[in-house]
């Protein structure tokens, strides 16, 4: 029963239990009254009256039966059927009904006596507990539950009392139990120190609904030891009954029912240590521990054995992809004004891309048709996507760029990423793609950006980089290793001294395709050269960057400072908002405004703008130099040479 299967987290509806899918089995299923009706039909017109006598009930009378909320209780207007039938008893009855006990050869079952059997004990060799359902063939109306195998008139009455007590226990329904636990949970924390709470008006009202609760004892310690044994034994048996429908009805009068050997008693105690107590404590503990539960997690049959399981609460995603997946896209004529291209390139006549993007499409395919691309893209998007990772990363791409503060831009990004993950099932979404896609989206429309990225995948070996195992990444780091050794030997030696491996920074650059490193405004030149030259452009760019920051790297002594030196350019870019690195930050702090719209505020704003402009100017200069070096390396490394090196590296 405890097959709670947790599937890997994907989307909101990821936690499915097997039990939910299964069809209900057994007698007692609260949910479907229709099912109960069918079960009742099987029972062949049996009722039980106050004196534990079996009575047959006519069909007409049975129609008067009502179905309670939690527990089935027959309508006792007729005076024939009592309300005290416990579920367990019915279960026993049913078992007896389904597999009528073997009779002596002489006795023949008739329609009127469906249940006819000699006195017999229900014996199970595995379990110690013994339950006798003694049914006299001579007196079929008598149906007595006997815990012992040696019935005597004096004992019987006492046992029946015990039985009644147990019945009270078992008549407590699941719902009432839940209610009670919820009520009581506030009042006490430890079950050991539990005392029956004082009745308030509310609780009295509740008690009217379920009067059994007042008498119900939570602690089995209140029962005497003997009784406890019986309870545990019967619990055993009832459990056993459920599982195993066919049972032995052989008579074993060897032992007296109540006098067990002390060893057996001990064993029984060890095996079944006061179930009820344990469970209720667990209820309280779990309720205190975890925030929310499913009410379904406690099922009827195993309410004494199973705890409420921990069920994680999923935080709602800020950007649920499925909400805006089918959002309307602008027309291909560019009539819709929603199209916004954020780049500063020259405008094209057609509004869905700029001139640079047009040049890319011309390089990639000679017959560029926007209609076709758009249609196929829209077809791809229709598939279902469930990726938490995408919705996590959408917000974190180019956060500082003004284009990506627009929500429509974020939606476009998400849609393209989903389309990629749908197009390539094996690769799926990998962190780093978001930068590539974002860089394209500034220049052109969704479908064009999507197909350009796919072209990168298919023609330019980008798929290898994102595949499982990151083959491509290792290949390109190998190529870089050789190139650095050839063209920047001093640096290569220094890397060896400081224990810097080229993997360490190439992994970042290759996977994000240098998009997260080069500023967005400068990426277009890099892309055009990439579409022309392939990965050679990437490696030349790496060499250019390394040469530019060569001095700083050579000055550094440790691995981390060396890595920092490689990434200083990045930090330049990041520190735009914080002011010049040269200037003292404390000065900036003093200049920050205390009140909005005050003079100081306006002054500081202008100051900030100045700083930003300065910063951009500096970074522009840096990148001018780097692109100059880049062009130099492109001239140095011929495609033939690159292919040689490419073939040298084997993974």
């Amino acid at each position: 029963m405890e097959n709670l299967q947790y599937y890997p987290v994907k989307g909101l509806s990821s936690f499915i239990r097997e039990e939910d899918n299964q069809e209900p089995t057994g007698i007692s299923k609260r949910k479907i009254p229709g099912h109960r009706r069918r079960c009742l039909k099987k029972r062949k017109n049996i009722g039980i009256n106050k004196r534990n006598k079996i009575m047959t009930v006519n069909r007409k009378k049975r129609q008067g039966l009502t179905y309670g909320k939690a527990n089935y209780r027959p309508n006792y207007k007729e005076g024939i059927v009592t309300p005290d039938i416990t579920r367990r008893k019915r279960r026993v009855l049913k078992v007896a009904d389904q597999t009528p006990p073997k009779l002596d050869d002489q006795a023949t079952p008739t329609k009127t006596h469906n249940l006819t059997a000699s006195i017999s004990t229900v014996h199970s060799s595995n379990l110690k507990g013994r339950l006798t359902s003694s049914i006299k063939s001579s007196n079929p109306a008598k149906f007595i539950y006997l815990p012992g195998s040696n019935p005597s008139s004096t004992l019987r009455s006492s046992r029946i009392k015990v039985m009644e007590k147990n019945m009270e226990l078992s008549t407590v329904t699941d719902e009432s139990l839940n209610n009670r636990v919820e009520n009581l949970d506030n009042n006490y924390q430890d079950t050991s120190s539990f005392k029956t709470p004082k009745l308030t008006q509310k609780s009295k009202r509740r008690l009217r609904v379920a009067p059994d609760l007042t008498r119900m004892s939570y602690e089995p310690a209140r029962l005497s030891k003997r009784e406890e044994n019986i309870v545990s034994d019967e619990m055993n048996d009832s459990d056993h009954l459920k599982d195993q429908k066919v049972r032995d009805y052989s008579f074993t009068p060897t032992k007296t029912p109540f006098k067990k050997s002390p060893e057996e008693l001990e064993r029984a105690r060890q095996k079944k240590p006061s179930k009820r107590k344990v469970n209720i404590s667990n209820y309280s503990v779990t309720q205190r521990h975890y925030g929310k539960f499913s009410s379904r997690s406690v099922k009827k049959g195993d309410r004494f054995t199973k705890l409420r399981k921990y069920r994680p609460v999923e935080a709602p995603l800020k950007y649920d992809i499925n909400n805006f997946r089918m959002e309307k896209q602008p027309n291909h004529d560019g009539t819709d004004q929603k199209i916004t291209i954020w780049c500063t390139c020259e405008e094209d006549v057609k509004k869905y891309f700029c001139k640079t993007a047009r040049s890319w499409t011309e390089i990639v395919s000679h017959e560029f048709k926007y209609h076709k691309w758009k249609e196929s893209y829209e077809n791809i998007i229709k598939g279902q996507v469930q990726s938490k990772q995408i919705s996590k990363d959408i917000e974190r791409t180019f956060q500082k760029h003004y284009a990506f503060r627009n929500t429509s831009m974020i939606h476009r990004l998400a849609r393209v990423l989903c389309a990629i993950s749908l197009y390539d099932d094996k690769v799926g979404y990998v962190q780093g793609m978001n930068f590539v896609v974002g860089a394209f989206l500034i220049h052109c429309e969704e479908s064009i950006a999507f197909w350009l990225v796919i072209e990168l995948f298919e023609r330019y070996e980008m798929r290898e980089v994102y595949e499982d195992g990151l083959k491509g990444m290792y290949r390109h780091s190998g190529i870089c290793d050789i190139l650095v050794q050839q063209y920047l030997p001093e640096l290569y030696e220094h890397f060896g001294e400081v224990d810097v491996r080229i993997e360490m920074f190439i992994s970042d650059w290759a996977i994000s395709f240098l998009c997260s490193y080069i500023p967005l405004g400068r990426l277009k030149d890099y892309f055009t050269s990439f579409f022309k030259n392939g990965w050679r452009a990437f490696h030349c760019m790496v060499l250019a960057i390394l040469e530019f920051s060569q001095l700083q790297i050579l000055l550094s002594e440790d691995m981390p400072s060396c890595m920092g030196a490689i990434k200083t350019l990045k930090e330049h870019r990041q520190s735009i908002n914080y002011g010049k690195p040269k200037s003292n930050p404390s000065i900036l702090k003093n200049r920050l405004p205390r009140f909005k719209n005050s003079k100081a505020h306006v002054l500081s704003l202008s100051f900030k703008e100045e700083m930003e402009q300065d910063e951009q100017h500096i970074s522009n200069e840096i990148w001018d130099e780097i692109f100059h070096l880049f062009a130099k390396y492109l001239g140095k490394i011929s495609p033939k040479e690159y292919i040689k090196i490419h073939n040298q590296v084997k993974i």
Binding site: V9, Y290, Q389, K392, Q399, V430, Q431
Partner: protein, 218 residues
């Protein structure tokens, strides 16, 4: 100069956990004492240094920030090696990241292959405790998990509010120091037969030499 250098102890601190959990912002908070405004997913790995004085010793902590996505676990192999201590971070408002603690710990032990797996110093960090809307992962659950997995220590932090970020890292570094002490005591006995001098960085160098060999098999 040389004497001063020798006094310094280098520690490699690796920080792992699901993506979007706040590893980078935690480290940034610790090293540069401000909250990162520019969120950006880490790809591959990033590094930062911090000098700390603990028990009169200057320690240079090399903090390795790793990527969270599963695809990058193969990359992690080369980054976990030679770590002195490891911090596993989860997002308290995201229960799935709490459930993934097991996989992260196992992956680290598998790929990093530290010498004594049982006593390797881990620290479990529950981040984003400033987002309090009642549905956070409770402290008891986290501590129970820690107790089940070899009595690990647990700390709740918030990189945004700067609550107990420093404590967490100092704890981590102290733990790493304790482990290093044990290693240092052991090393001379082994080394005395060959060389009388003890090279502190020897282990790191060894690991570096090993790594490329490993790559080839993959």
């Amino acid at each position: 100069m040389e004497k001063k250098k020798n006094k310094k102890v280098f520690l490699k601190v690796v920080i792992i956990g699901d993506s979007g959990v706040g590893k980078t912002s935690l480290i940034h908070r610790y090293t540069s004492t401000r909250f990162l405004q520019d969120f950006k997913p880490t790809i591959g790995a990033e590094f930062s240094n911090k000098e700390v004085v603990i028990n009169g010793k200057t320690v240079v902590a090399q903090i390795w920030d790793t990527a969270g996505q599963e695809r990058y676990q193969s990359l992690g192999i080369s980054f976990y090696r030679g770590a002195d201590c490891c911090g596993i971070v989860f997002d308290r408002s995201d229960h799935s990241s709490f459930e993934n603690l097991d996989t992260w710990k196992n992956a680290f032990l598998k790929h990093g292959a530290p010498k004594e797996e049982g006593t390797f110093p881990f620290l479990v960090i529950g981040n984003k405790s400033d987002l309090d809307d009642g549905s956070l992962v409770k402290e008891r659950d986290a501590q129970q998990w820690c107790a089940d997995n070899g009595n690990l220590e647990y700390i709740e932090t918030s990189a945004k509010d700067n609550t107990s970020v420093e404590e967490a890292f100092t704890k981590l570094i102290e733990k790493g120091m304790e482990r290093e002490k044990v290693n240092l005591v052991e090393l001379p006995d082994r080394m005395s037969q060959k060389n009388k001098t003890v090279n502190l960085q020897r282990d790191v160098a060894k690991d570096v030499n090993r790594k490329p060999q490993k790559k080839k098999c993959c």
